[in-house]
Symmetry: D2
Subunit: 380 residues, 4 copies
């Protein structure tokens, strides 16, 4: 099997998420990083590329050059897709250009800086006929797939209550004033958009909720916090949600929840069963039932649906983690892309798309809108 060729935009030396994308892309041995515009600083871009073992002539000064030059290469040689791992404000421009230049795209979330961009991007994708994946990586965990499959199959019955949290503590102090690069752009509306924690982690919480339950959030009432001194964007959020089917729930997000590392968790209660999943212990799915004891499912363990089984890489009890879930997005995207390259048709492959991106942007907008109106209900 020939490897799929990836170009990267962003993710230079010192980047967190760029490195994650590279590792995730390489785990399954299906993807090869062939070129990149790793930084807005041409020198850094080239240095980064060299460190990564990329031939110097394919370390580009900027993404425009990269897309241009790659397009001119022979089909066999040029990159198949672009991975965009820049801050939010730099998602849309390269995504649009890449798609219009005939390249498939994998993009980090939130999909764009504004809702308008997201909607425009959807059109660009449609017109280009190219593939687009959004890295809502948490959907790539076997136990998340199992939870989704259980609900899809009606095991839980009608859903009534949902409880979601995404708690981090790394912005509990004013780290943005200490030169912390990750913090600096995230609290800057020009780079982050109108949502702070909302965009960074809230969209994950929203996406996971809709992905697992198969239900849309209908409306939201959001009370946002801006606890860090001088911050204009939210670093905390407390939300009520109502789902399209009448289920109710809460979403609690924070980046000032001191001491929390990456505590994303979801509980869903139906009329016949319930599921509970914690990102920090991703290899357990806790389930509850009307007349049976609590059951704990594990990747490659007993009693799983095919959707969960097919994405586990190693035997039960050998923990997979954050990178492996992330890699599942890349794997499924790559399978799709390979099929497209080979002119094969393919059943729908499960990875997040522009639709997820648009939902995420609508979620941010609705939450901000609600917060500005003292947490009154706003439709998503």
């Amino acid at each position: 099997m020939k490897k799929i060729k990836m170009g990267m935009i962003g993710g230079g030396i010192g980047s967190f998420i760029g490195d994650v994308h590279r590792k995730a892309a390489s785990i399954d041995g299906m993807i090869e990083l062939v070129c990149g515009a790793f930084s807005s600083n041409p020198k850094t871009s080239i240095e980064s590329g060299k460190k990564l073992g990329i031939s110097e002539n394919r370390c580009y000064a900027n993404y425009t050059e990269m897309i241009q030059k790659e397009k001119e290469l022979p089909t066999e040689e040029r990159m198949d897709f672009v991975a965009i791992v820049t801050p939010n404000h730099m998602h849309f421009p390269p995504a649009k250009l890449a798609l219009q230049s005939g390249f498939h795209v994998v993009c980090d979330k939130p999909v764009t800086l504004t809702l308008e961009e997201a909607i425009e991007l959807e059109q660009v994708i449609t017109e280009s006929g190219k593939l687009f994946a959004l890295t809502h990586n948490y959907t790539g965990h076997p136990m998340v797939k199992q939870a989704k499959a259980m609900i899809e199959n009606g095991d839980l019955g009608n859903i009534r209550k949902i409880q979601v949290q995404y708690l981090q503590g790394w912005l509990a102090t004013s780290v943005e004033k200490t030169g912390q690069k990750q913090a600096a752009w995230r609290i800057d509306p020009k780079k982050s958009g109108i949502g702070g924690a909302l965009g960074d982690i809230g969209t994950h919480a929203e996406n996971l909720t809709e992905y697992i339950t198969g239900l849309k959030i209908k409306e939201i009432a959001a009370d946002l916090g801006r606890f860090g001194e001088g911050r204009t964007l939210d670093d905390d959020g407390n939300m009520l949600i109502r789902m399209e089917n009448g289920a109710k729930g809460t979403i609690s997000i924070s980046q000032i929840a001191l001491g929390e590392e990456n505590n994303l968790a979801i509980k869903v209660y139906g009329e016949k069963g319930a599921i509970e999943w914690h990102q920090e212990q991703p290899n357990e799915l806790i389930t509850r039932w009307l007349n049976e004891p609590k059951k704990i499912y594990t990747p490659n363990g007993n009693g799983l649906y095919p959707q969960a089984l097919e994405i586990s890489r190693i035997p039960a009890g050998h923990p997979e983690g954050y990178l492996e879930a992330f890699a599942t997005i890349y794997k499924n995207f790559t399978k799709h892309l390979t099929a497209v390259n080979n002119h094969q048709s393919l059943e729908k492959i499960d990875y997040p798309t522009i639709q997820d991106g648009i939902r995420g942007m609508k979620f941010i907008y609705a939450a901000v809108n609600s917060d500005q109106n003292n947490a009154s209900w706003v439709q998503i």
Copy 2:
């Protein structure tokens, strides 16, 4: 030390909470059950009393008779206090009569059927000069005391975020239609008051929040659920809260969270530290810190404040549970009562009082009011 003499109102054969009160009162060997009006049915009352080893002449047909007759006994013989363990609508009348007849009172929560009653009861207590304890039993856990002491001592710094849940699943199906006695009165507004789950478990969540943080909930936005067929009272609640100091948070309660047993939990995040406590694992207090690893405190373990140490009964690692925490309310109340009986003055002893009861009623009223206004903010 002479034992304190307890009379009981309610709690006949088959009662859940009456039995809990009796066990809690007897663990520490300071209290003796001497009489009771255990049921509104005189025959059941007497039968229950006999089963409990109470002499027949002190098994009364109703609480009026009991209070009347006990009052006529010699001081040395008559009951010292009354424990009221009836459904909510039967808290106020016997409490008022007992206090006005010169008896101290321990009462289950929520304190009364209506807010008006609670306010009137406060006056009755004041005028009577008698003691009144409300059994918010979860405040009796050593690790809850430790959490409170840590916050009181400033270990967590200013509080910013609070997350509370109290999840049960026993009303997930229509058990009230199967003759389940506990369910039947709880879903009946005439016996429960205007709150369903709100009164039964919501008040515990509210009380624990204010007890641990030392902060009042300023306002609340509540979206209540009534999922059980034909129920008029809430069996589920999703709430935003704002504390008097600017902290924000969520309270999620439910009695239709299928499979949950008694999942009360609280997380409090400050500027310097954070605490997390789960009622189902009550012998752990999880704490998080700015520059130190997570620390887990245990009853009678290392590093505790005196408030936590003094109420642990057995060495570290020997789990205390629900009954022991409940017993702590009785123990502290009894210590107070003994001091009063002996005309000793006493520093404030820590047990819930009528003020906690009034806060609870205000919480119920505010939540119902908010819910009726589409979850708009209501001051407590």
Copy 3:
């Protein structure tokens, strides 16, 4: 129902286990403490009794006096049974005297100072026709009963592997040199017998193993540690075991496992299923199965056997702890005693007896013997 009357030997002010016995005996409201010889020091005995609210004339100077005097009281008034809560060397003499004087006995473990005493005691019990209970309290947990019932019912199939640990850390430093009373007698062979940790906690581990599996330990190879400076008795033990049915396993005990509180745990693996139980989280029974996910049972939760259901006092999710399990020994003993008092026959009631005591002593002897022979195998 008339309360059963208990006299206590040992357990004066400052005693740990005496207080535990009293609390355990009183939780269920079936037992009344009427007299005691709480200390070998008559003055302390009387003071302790007064503190406990016992009338002065029944606070005895020593156990001989107590047994003598109580015997002379009218049947209706005198104690029904004696609870012996002294150090090991003071179990046998009062137990023998009490039984021969017509009193039933509850005794702490290990049952006696020597194996010979235990065997003699068995005969005394038989001849007296009186009841004798040994407080192997951990058998009183609902989840331990469930585990036993599952194995009894063949749910696990033939047992193959067993792993038991009982780890404490309170003797990690030389606390016996600091005047710690609990430590002082436990490291003294004259008061403890030939086993240190072996007698104090090893017998619990052994008893729990045989109780849950229904299998006898056939032989043992023990490598004991004496880590505390100057200690002649074991404070640590590492053992291989072979069961009568061919199952194999390990028992690891320690009182120098620094930081461990009371970490008793057992895992049993059969051909069809497996169970795992931890004393510090006593309200969970973890079970594993050939083709099903892990299932977690809880007291009063779904799917339990009657043996587990009948001893749970409160609804699922309301944790019971150490004292409640201890109380279950007293409750079952009291039920038995009540039946005997009422000349009723009764199906076998489940509480530990002299046979458990003898097994415990044999276990201590075999382990010490094995250790003296460089951990060679010794039959129990």
Copy 4:
């Protein structure tokens, strides 16, 4: 940075451990798989190679051919090292040939079929001057590094007690009779050696013990089980250990512990502190202390030693798993190899070597020897 070139022996389609090695080698983007002899069946070897995207001319029919042909390639092109992922009996021959042909080697464990081979291999390595890494992958977890560093730094004081377990259940039934390939060779002494579970998982337990504590196991008493019908090799083991410093402990291993997945865990108790680590929850290190509460360390969390920090790939709370730990062996080996290629000197880099391999073989031999002598002590 140029990628290091890897050739693979074994690990064809359907292999578990070959796939693990490939994923582990590729995560960090430092290694490129350039050739392989993936199967003893030439056709399978080539097919496997093609699936992996390897050019056909470098998919070899067998390892002899591969080593021969690669040697003839220009330095710039040929593989740098060989990864050997075959069953145990096929470790030594290709390792020896590769080393003698000038290639570095990474080899799966146990290092060889016999102790004699292991000792010979050590000499071959020395003579060749080439690098040799053994994939004791569990030493690659950040929390294992932290545990080791804590003990090295004296934080725990003198070590007294050790408890290790490695429990699996996948051989609880006779899967080897159902054509399960993994099981088939593992129960065959010709392919596995004299140890069954001992070699497969026991060596991991032994290696982890010596790695974390920095102490050698001095002697061992082993009682092995052969529970699966017809098995001649051990599928279960219960062992006492004595360490060179006087510490004592137990090792319990099993592949018939029904329902267990990959439950490797270690507890080490010193005079001042204690550590506990579980492979299935690898991102937590539980620590206990004399006068402080239990502390939980996490990768990239607070309070870590550099040894733990430097191998964490992603921020705290983003779980790394089995593959990442495995990858750490490859990463450190590759760093060493790169330095050697560049004629740079390098401080000792931490990865398991032939010395670990020899210890593992001695452990197997001592355990089997002890078992044959009724679990008497045997020096390692």
